[in-house]
Amino acid sequence: MSLKVDISFKLNGVARSATVPVETSALEMLRDALGFTGTKYGCGEGECGACTILVDGASLNSCLLFAVDCNGRDVVTIEGLDAEPKAEAVKKGFVDKWAVQCGFCTPGMVVQATHLLNQNPNATDAQIRRGIEGNLCRCTGYVKIVEAIAAARDAAPREA
């Protein structure tokens, strides 16, 4: 029996508490314990980016994050991404540019792209390619994904 730890944190803007086995990843907690299955399990070792979430405003691989380390922090998943300034434009870009095929990489890509444009609203296409170097896509060949993020960059800012 592994040790269980009580934690509380903000998940998509809402206060949550959970009791998690100490060696569990944030990804396992989100998907299996809390039912937030938008975040995907690809490799489990930091290589594919399907599990990307935002923690205190930075993008992280949730498969490498200990769930206990979410305690007291601000966690945002694809389900709650709309609160981020650029999220809507990024999602629209993915739809308009046909940047989704099987869709498995999409939640991680969209979270990472949103983080990228939050950090650097004027990212060049080269910076966009570098910004998603931790996200693998086995279907699209990336061209449409880069176009989608560039379209989000170029979209007029959302009405305040």
Binding site: V5, G46, N61, C63, L64, E133, G134, N135
Partner: protein, 287 residues
């Protein structure tokens, strides 16, 4: 062993006190720890201590003639720090070539050094900048700090001179002299998310056509990231012309005894070191 207690101290003194009570597995960014736990390479001790909330371990600052990089500074912090960019550009370069944005946001400098991978990217530039590590413990009522040159810190893959009751608090780097030039090159099969096949850092004070107070550090060619003393001696103080550059490149190739593994054969690593040292010094000579 299974974990019996989880702690997340907020001060360095608390953290050191917990370590002095016996074994604890230290958790920083978790990017090495989590995969090592899953692959069975690492067994937890009875206490898991998350140090991420310890304020004294954060941040990058100038203190007198030293740049202090807190153990919890992330690779993203290195990449975006103006002090690092201005004074330690080879470290910025290493941070830029490190993994992916998501990993850089989590991975810490302390975690990289304590993980002691021969292929770790932050060690070679820090060796060239003559960094030292600050190790802290609390053997009795008082805190004890000792510093150790980074060049003496590593003892083997995954092994260091850090005692079980110690933790790495910071890396301290003397501000390089005027005229100091340094370069870092990592060679991998693709730019992102690749472990170095070899990496090289070279630094020295450029006077006229020569480099003085030269340091050369190599990654992924030995059980630890190491200084190449013989290569340094060939390079030291002599005019950087084509003949010298050839001699230095040959010295570097002959000084190392790398292994063959999944990433490259020993022969290939030696050739890489030769060719990349040559390219780096040609660039320094022209710059």
């Amino acid at each position: 062993m299974t974990i019996e207690r989880y702690v997340a101290p907020e001060t360095l003194e608390e953290a050191a006190a917990i370590l002095s009570q016996g074994g604890a597995t230290i958790l920083a960014g978790g990017t090495d720890l989590m995969p090592q736990v899953h692959s069975g390479k690492l067994k937890f001790k009875s206490v898991l201590m998350n140090i991420r909330r310890v304020g004294e371990l954060q941040g990058i600052s100038m203190q007198g003639g030293m740049i202090r990089i807190g153990a919890l500074a992330t690779v993203t912090d290195l990449l975006t720090s103006n002090v690092v960019r201005e004074k330690l550009p080879a470290l910025t370069e290493a941070a830029d070539q490190f993994a992916s944005d998501q990993i850089r946001n989590a991975a810490t400098v302390g975690g990289s050094l304590c993980n002691a991978s021969p292929a770790g990217d932050v060690a070679p530039p820090l060796l060239v900048y003559n960094a030292e590590v600050e190790l802290v413990c609390k053997p009795d009522s008082g805190m004890k700090v000792r510093t150790l040159p980074l060049a003496e810190f590593f003892t083997g893959p995954g092994r260091t001179r850090m005692e079980p009751n110690e933790l790495l608090a910071a890396v301290r780097v003397p501000v390089p002299k005027a005229g100091y030039v340094a370069r870092f090159v990592k060679f991998g099969t693709r730019p992102a998310l690749d472990i170095a096949t070899i990496s090289i850092a070279i630094g020295g004070v450029k006077k006229g056509r020569a480099l003085h107070e030269v340091r050369v550090a190599l990654g992924a060619v030995a059980p630890v990231p190491l200084r190449a003393a013989l290569t340094e001696a060939v390079l030291e103080g002599k005019a950087l012309d084509a003949g010298l550059i050839d001699q230095v490149a040959a010295a570097a190739r002959d000084e190392i005894k790398p292994i063959s593994d999944v990433r490259a054969s020993a022969w290939y690593r030696q050739e890489l070191v030769h060719n990349i040292v040559k390219r780096m010094l040609t660039d320094v000579a022209q710059g």
